[in-house]
Symmetry: C2
Subunit: 324 residues, 2 copies
C-alpha cells in the first residue's frame, strides 16, 4: 500500500514529466505555469488511492489520474476568465498574467492534454474510464453555468444550490475515486460505492469552504474571512439563511446585500449576526458532517479488508472539523 505522500510525489513527478506540443511557446507557458503552481493534487491522489484499494499495482492509473488534475486546472483557467478573477492562490490568473485569448486557448489545449492522459488508460477499461471522465467533464461545465446563473438570481433554493456544488465540485472527486477503482479492477458495485464516497466528500468539502470563508480562524485559515459576504456571493450559508428567514429577516438580509457603501467589516458583522439568529453555523456544520458520515458509510461497504482502507479513511477523517 502506498501512503498519501508517496502518491502525491508520484503525481507531481508525472506532471513534471508531461510532454507538450512546444511549437507555440506562448501557448505552453501558461499551461506550465498553471500546472506548476501545485496544490494538494487531491483528485489524482484520490484516484490512485482508490486504485490501490483494490490492487497493489497502481502504475496504470497514474496517467489517467494526472488527466483528472489537468482537467481540473483547465476548468480553473476558464472559470477565472468567467469570474474575472485577478488572483488564484495569491498568484495572477492566466488571463491577467497573459491575456484573454491565451487563457481561452491554453485552457483548450489543457483539455486535449487531459485526453492524451486518459488515452493511456489500459485498453481493457479505456472506453469505460474515458466515458466516466467525459460525462463528468460536461457535468462540471453545467455546474459552472448554474453558478453563473445563480449569481444573477435573488433567491436560490437550497436544493438547486446543492446540485450546483455537486456538479461543479463533487462529481469530479466522485469520478476520480471511481476511475481509480475501475482501473484497480473493482466490480461495478464497489466502483459505484467509491463514486458515492468521493461525491459525499466533495459536497462536504465545498460546504466547509463556504463555512470557513465566514467562520474560519484567519490565523489558521490563511486568508481573510468574510470575502463571500462582502462580494454577496451565493454560498450555502446565504442560501440557507434566505430559505429559513422570517419575512423580516429576509428583508434585512436583502437590504444588506443591496448596500454597496457599507463598511465591509460592518457588513460582515451584521450578516454574521443574522446568520447567528438563524443558527446557520450549526446547520452548516451538521450538513457537512452528514456528508462526511455518508462517505464513511460508503467506504465501509466496499468489499475490501478494513486495513486497506486506512489512507482513504484518513482523507475523510481529515475533513472532520476542518479549519483550513
Amino acid at each position: 500500500m502506498y501512503s498519501h505522500s508517496e502518491l502525491k510525489e508520484l503525481v507531481d513527478k508525472a506532471i513534471i514529466n508531461l510532454s507538450f506540443n512546444t511549437e507555440a511557446e506562448s501557448l505552453v507557458d501558461p499551461i506550465k505555469y498553471v500546472l506548476s503552481i501545485g496544490g494538494k493534487r487531491i483528485r489524482p491522489v484520490l484516484a490512485l488511492m482508490a486504485c490501490n484499494l483494490f490492487n497493489d499495482k497502481i502504475d496504470e492509473a497514474i496517467m489517467p489520474a494526472v488527466g483528472l488534475e489537468v482537467f481540473h486546472n483547465f476548468t480553473l483557467v476558464h472559470d477565472d476568465i468567467m469570474d474575472q478573477a485577478p488572483l488564484r492562490r495569491n498568484l495572477p490568473t492566466v488571463h491577467s498574467k497573459w491575456d484573454l485569448n491565451q487563457a481561452v486557448l491554453s485552457g483548450d489545449v489543457m483539455a486535449f492534454i487531459a485526453n492524451e492522459c486518459f488515452l493511456q488508460t489500459p485498453l481493457g477499461c479505456l472506453q469505460k474510464v474515458f466515458r466516466i471522465y467525459n460525462t463528468t467533464a460536461t457535468e462540471v461545465c453545467v455546474g459552472q453555468q448554474f453558478d453563473i446563473d445563480f449569481e444573477k438570481k435573488t433567491v436560490v433554493p437550497e436544493g438547486d444550490y446543492l446540485r450546483m456544488i455537486e456538479l461543479k465540485t463533487a462529481v469530479l472527486l466522485a469520478a476520480s475515486a471511481r476511475i481509480g477503482a475501475v482501473i484497480g479492477g473493482a466490480d461495478e458495485k464497489d466502483s459505484e460505492l467509491m463514486y458515492e464516497f468521493g461525491r459525499n466528500l466533495g459536497l462536504a468539502f465545498q460546504i466547509q469552504d463556504d463555512y470557513l470563508d465566514t467562520y474560519g480562524d484567519i490565523k489558521v485559515f490563511g486568508k481573510t474571512t468574510g470575502g463571500d459576504i462582502g462580494a454577496n456571493k451565493k454560498t450555502f450559508l446565504l442560501v440557507k439563511a434566505l430559505e429559513i428567514a422570517s419575512p423580516d429577516q429576509f428583508n434585512q438580509i436583502h437590504e444588506l446585500i443591496g448596500k454597496t457603501e457599507t463598511d465591509p467589516v460592518e457588513k460582515v458583522k451584521m450578516m454574521t449576526g443574522l446568520y447567528d439568529q438563524l443558527g446557520i453555523k450549526k446547520l452548516t456544520e451538521a450538513l457537512a458532517d452528514d456528508y462526511i458520515e455518508n462517505a464513511f458509510k460508503m467506504l465501509e461497504q466496499v468489499s475490501v479488508k478494513r486495513e486497506r482502507k486506512a489512507e482513504l479513511e484518513a482523507i475523510a477523517g481529515s475533513l472532520k472539523g476542518r479549519n483550513k
Copy 2:
C-alpha cells in the same frame, strides 16, 4: 459506394440526433444554434468518403466523423471570441448573441461532445483514431495562436504563414481523411497517403480563400471582396507581396497598411495595384494549383481501384479554379 450528397445527409441526420446533457438549457442552446447553422460538413463527409474508399460499410465511421464537425465548430466558437467577430456566415456569433461566458463554456462542452463521438469508434481502432484526433486538435490550437501572434507582427515569412494555415486549417482535413481511412481498414501507408491528400486540399482551400477575398467575383463569391485588405489581415497575398517587394514597394505597402483614414475602396484599389505589379494573383493561383495537384498524386497512389476514388477526385477537382 455512397455519393457526396448521401454522405452529407447521413452527417446532418447524425448531428440532429446528437444527445446533450440538457440540465442547463443555457449551455445547450448555443451548441444547438452553432451546430444547426450547417455548412458543407466537409470534414465529416471527407472522413466518410475516406472510409468508403476502403470499405462498403461506413456505419462505424459516422460518429467519429460527427466528432470532427463538432470539434471544428468548437474552434469556431472560441476563435470568434478571440477575433472579436460579431458575425459568422452572416449570423451573430455565440459570444455576441449570448455573452463571453456562455461562449467559453458552451465551447468547452462541445469539446466533450466531440470526445463522446470519438468514444463510439470501434474498439479495435479507438485508441489510434482518438490519438490522431487529439494530436490534431492541439495543432489546430497552435495554429490559432500563430494566427494571433502574426497579426501583431510587421512581416511574417512565407514559410511561417504556410505552417500557420497548415495547422489552423489543413491538419484537420488531413486527420479527417486519415481517421476515415483507419476505420475503413486501410493499412499504414494508405492512411498516410490519405492524410497527405487531406493536408494538400486544406492548404489549397485556405490559399484560395485568401485569393477569393481579393480577386473573387462578388456576384459568385457571395460576399464583398477586399475585406482582408481593409482589415490589414495577414493573408498569403500580403505575406507574399511583402516577401518579394522591392524596398520601395515594401514601403508603399506599409504606408497603405498604416493608413486608417483612406477610403476603403481606394485602399483596396491601391493594394491590388501593388499586388498586380508583383504578380501576386498568378503566384497565388499557381501555389493553390500545386497543392491540388499534390492531392491528386497522393490519391492516385492509394492502393484501391480507380473507380472507388471518384467522389474524392470530384472533391479535389471542385477546388480547381474555385470561384466561391
